[in-house]
């Protein structure tokens, strides 16, 4: 792998104007800003209705400096296919096409179009920014909301079901590249985007996005909470290159450390998990430990 990017050699060119309409402390504004730096100027974006629609601003003003097509909720990946098809007819093989959709727009309503495009092998990058709920419409549960999270439509019992593992679903499409990233580790995101630009077919990125209003924490703690998710082994940073899985960045380092921060700290930092009992947290801890035992064995 190429030399890792650091804050000193990260390109200074910005593709997101300052002063977007994102909430204070929005994790997406970090991932989007750094993600566009990695994608570069020769890029066309596709965005379905989501927090990003709001972040980008209201007509006739836009906060993104790249061309962007806003499309219907379910059609991000199909629209990316359409742009690619036109570029092909024009003999353009250099422009990158990138879809940026939320977790609802990906794991729920957009999954069919995404699966279709991935199966066809259409050459674009799909980003799912996962703030674990329909945050733009007022914090309702989505397919990727984790078990135990209180949302506007799981108001008392919290979500009773597991988080849908979308990167695993996409990996099952035998893609050239699948990555799990976090807004709390933007340079890992940057390096991963750079490393896969040349790979064929559909590339899938899943980005964990701390969300102050949706998760219930003071906006200044977004990065801390994003990091806690990784340090507790609850959310892992990894990439799957042509079927080869490997942990990256802070998750990779956890293999050497062999010590995870108790997941209780992650849960107790957010009000959405307030209804989780100690027994439930212990059960989740047991599952995390089992998963990591597997990683440790694989690493030996």
């Amino acid at each position: 792998m190429q030399a890792k990017t650091n804050i000193l050699n990260l390109p200074t060119q910005e593709f997101v104007h300052p002063g977007t309409r994102a909430c204070t402390g929005c994790g997406l504004s970090i991932a989007y800003r750094v993600g566009l730096k990695a994608l570069g100027k020769d890029t066309i974006l596709v965005v379905p209705p989501s927090c990003l629609t709001v972040l980008q601003g209201l007509f006739p003003v836009a906060s993104t400096k790249l061309p962007c097509l806003n499309v219907t909720f379910a059609s991000t990946a199909a629209a990316a296919t359409g742009i690619l098809a036109t570029l092909k007819t024009k003999g353009n093989d250099h422009t990158t096409v990138a879809g940026w959709a939320g977790d609802g727009g990906t794991s729920d309503i957009g999954l069919q179009a995404l699966s279709g495009a991935a199966e066809r092998g259409d050459n674009f990058i799909y980003f799912c920014y996962d703030n674990e709920g329909y945050m733009n419409t007022g914090v309702q549960r989505s397919g990727t909301t984790p078990i135990g999270a209180v949302t506007a439509n799981t108001p008392f019992k919290g979500k009773l079901q597991q988080k849908k593992d979308v990167p695993a679903i996409m990996a099952a499409h035998k893609l050239s590249y699948v990555a799990a990233c976090s807004a709390a580790y933007p340079l890992d995101l940057y390096d991963k985007i750079k490393s896969c630009l040349h790979l064929p077919g559909t590339k899938y990125f899943h980005i964990h996005i701390p969300c102050p209003p949706g998760w219930g924490y003071d906006p200044r703690y977004g990065i801390k909470i994003g990091r806690l998710a990784v340090e507790t082994g609850y959310y892992d940073l990894y990439e799957i290159v042509n079927g080869e899985f490997r942990l990256t960045a802070a998750s990779e380092k956890l293999i050497e450390k062999r010590k995870l921060t108790p997941v209780r700290e992650y849960f107790r930092a957010q009000s959405r998990f307030r209804i989780l009992t100690d027994e439930q947290i212990n059960e989740i801890q047991r599952q995390i430990d089992m998963k990591w035992d597997g990683y440790y064995k694989k690493g030996e």
């Binding site: 400096k65 036109t86 279709g116």
Partner: protein, 399 residues
Amino acid sequence: MYMIENGNTAAALGVKLCRAGVIAAYPITPQTPLTEKLSEYVELGDMKAEYIPVESEHSALAVCIAASSAGARVFTATSANGLLYMHEQIQWASGARLPIVMCVVNRAVGAPWNVWNDQQDSISQRDTGWIQIYCCDHQQIIDTVIKAYWLAEKISIPIMVCYDGYILSHTYMPFDLPDQEKVDAFLPPFQPDYALNPDEPANLNTVTLPDVRIDTKGQLAHGYMEIRYLLQEELRTTLQIAADAEKRFAEIFGRGGNPYIEPYRCDDADYVAVGLGSITYQLRVCVDTLRKEGIKVGVMGVRYYRPFPDAVIAGALKGKKGIIVFEKALSYGYEGALASDLKSALYEHLAGTGSLPAVQNLIAGIGGREIHTDDLTQNLRAATQGRISREPAWIGLKI
């Protein structure tokens, strides 16, 4: 060059002659032979286009919307539930002002499942801001596809070219295949005002406010309402531009006529049958029969359903004793949508003139129920002798 082929092939040949650059389609009967034919042209290299075999009709139109936004001439086709599944994208395409051409091979919608012909599918999309043109034979199918691209790109409004499933899509008829050079002369390459481009970034279809707003240069930009008003205004002026398209087409190809309506023996008629699509050609046989009996009837096919050529229709029907609207679709809970629209046009243009004809509504061929010419003749004769019923009368109903 004259050839004998089916209606779906006529449509496919039209799309090929128009050099569509991106085609996206999902299979549904009776549309499938049309898009199979296009995939054949592309794989054989007879047509230089990207053919995208999408996983749903919703995505078929998503591909077309995006490809068109990026500057390609695009095509898709569907039928029945496929068209209904597209509904969100259909509205999006007209709101985004994209010159997409789509063939709708008319078929009944579920439930219950039925694969045969009626027109409930496209009639259900009446209010979406698309132009709808109905065809009566294979020559009209291929010619309309070619005219549709010219018109759509002139005004940036998408067009549905509608023709009856099986009755036209799967039957073989002779038609003239236009020369490629003539089509190229008629239809220049697609050059949109803006296409997605990193050198000239723009954010398309962003959230637009209820009121107007100043842009970064201090200019007043449209609100949502202004954008929608312009769609309505430009759809109405399309009626004039359609005449230009017809004239241009006639100059190059030597055929054409009234783009909005197709009257047959209407001039001296007391009663006129009105309909959309192939049924109006079948009704010509009924008209000939009744004329022999001394009943002065004619038939008028409506080719443009949206925008509705109200003035032309009212002008053609002025002073008639009765209009009998035959429809293969219903606005359930009331009557056929064409009958309602026609009454509205007659009222608007003829109320108070003393020449307002009575209108009757007959429903036929729902879900592919065989339409016997004798039944049509009998009903048309009965309608000239008095009102059959206040409610729409169903022809061939066995209940």
